[in-house]
Symmetry: C2
DNA sequence: AATAGATGTAATAACATATATTACAATCGA
DNA sequence: TCGATTGTAATATATGTTATTACATCTATT
C-alpha cells in the first residue's frame, strides 16, 4: 500500500511552474512533457491545485502561475489539495460489540494512528516549495 | 488514499489471541467472529503473522498463540508483517531527464518523503501490543 | 484407522481506485 | 474568426482489496 502518484506529480507541476516562470508558458502539454503523464492528468491536478488556491490557470490562452511565494507553499498544502482527508488506515466496519477487543479496537488503535497521521502532516508542513526548488537548483550546480 | 484494513485487522487478531489466551481456542472462525471478516482472511493474515515470527498456529487441531510477550511486539512488527516494504508515495516512473525538475524530482522529493516514512515507522515501533491491551482493559473498567 | 474439526492455499468474483485516453464545448488573445 | 488552450465528462485498462467457495492436508481423539 502506498499513496498515489498525485502528491509527487502535483509537486513536480508546482516546481516547474516556478522554475520556468518568465521563461515559457507552462501549459498542460508543456508540463505533461516534463512529468511524463497525459496532459489531461495535468489539467485535473491543476484544477485541484487551483481549488486549493495554490495556482491560477489562464483559461483560453493557457499557462499557470503560483498565487503565493514558494516559501508559503508547503507539501501539506499540496497533500491536502490532491488527497482526501481521511484516516491513514482503513478500519474494519463492524467489529463484534460483544467482544471486549471488538468493541474497543477502533477507539484504542484509532486514536494512536490518528496521532501518527498528524505527525506526518506536521512534517509535510515543514517542507516548502522553496526548499525543494533550492535543492533542485543545487543539484544543477546552481 | 489510505492504508488497507490489514494492520488494524492483524492487530485485532493479535489482541484477541492474547486476551483469550487460556480461556478459549482462538481459531480462524472464532477470530472472524470478533473482527467481522471472512475466516479465510483471518487464516491469510495469520499466515503473514506466522511468517513474521509473531504467532504459532496449530495445524490440524487449530488455534493460535503469540511467540513473544505482548511487550515485545510492536505495531511496526505488525505493519511489516502485513504491508509491503515500499515508498510511502508512488513516484512517476519516467520524468523527463531533459528538464531540470524532471531529472531531480525523485532524488529531492524522494529523500524527504523517505524520512517521513522512517519517522512513521519509528512511531509504530513505540506502540506495543501490551499498551493496546492495557488500553482495552482500562476501557472495560479493568 | 476413522472421524471431526481445523488449517493452508488456490481460484474466482465483486468492487473500488488509479491512470490513460478520447472527445468536445467553452475560453481568450491575436 | 482562428488557433491554441482549458475544463470536464465518458470510457477503458490495470491493479489492488476483500469476500467466498473449494478442497487437500493435518492432528487430537475416539
Amino acid at each position: 500500500m502506498q499513496f498515489s502518484v498525485r502528491l509527487p506529480v502535483a509537486t513536480h507541476i508546482l516546481l516547474c511552474i516556478e522554475k520556468f516562470h518568465g521563461e515559457c508558458k507552462t501549459t498542460s502539454t508543456f508540463l505533461a512533457g516534463s512529468v511524463n503523464v497525459h496532459p489531461v492528468i495535468i489539467r485535473k491536478t491543476l484544477g485541484q491545485l487551483r481549488a486549493a488556491g495554490l495556482v491560477e490557470v489562464a483559461a483560453g490562452v493557457g499557462g499557470a502561475k503560483l498565487t503565493k511565494s514558494p516559501n508559503d507553499i508547503t507539501l501539506l498544502d499540496v497533500f491536502r489539495a490532491v488527497e482526501e482527508d481521511e484516516d491513514l488506515f482503513h478500519f474494519q466496519e463492524n467489529p463484534n460489540p460483544k467482544c471486549p477487543v471488538g468493541r474497543n479496537i477502533h477507539q484504542v488503535l484509532g486514536t494512536r494512528l490518528e496521532k501518527i497521521k498528524q505527525h506526518m502532516e506536521d512534517e509535510l508542513a515543514r517542507i516548502t516549495l522553496e526548499e525543494l526548488l533550492n535543492a533542485v537548483n543545487e543539484n544543477e550546480g546552481g
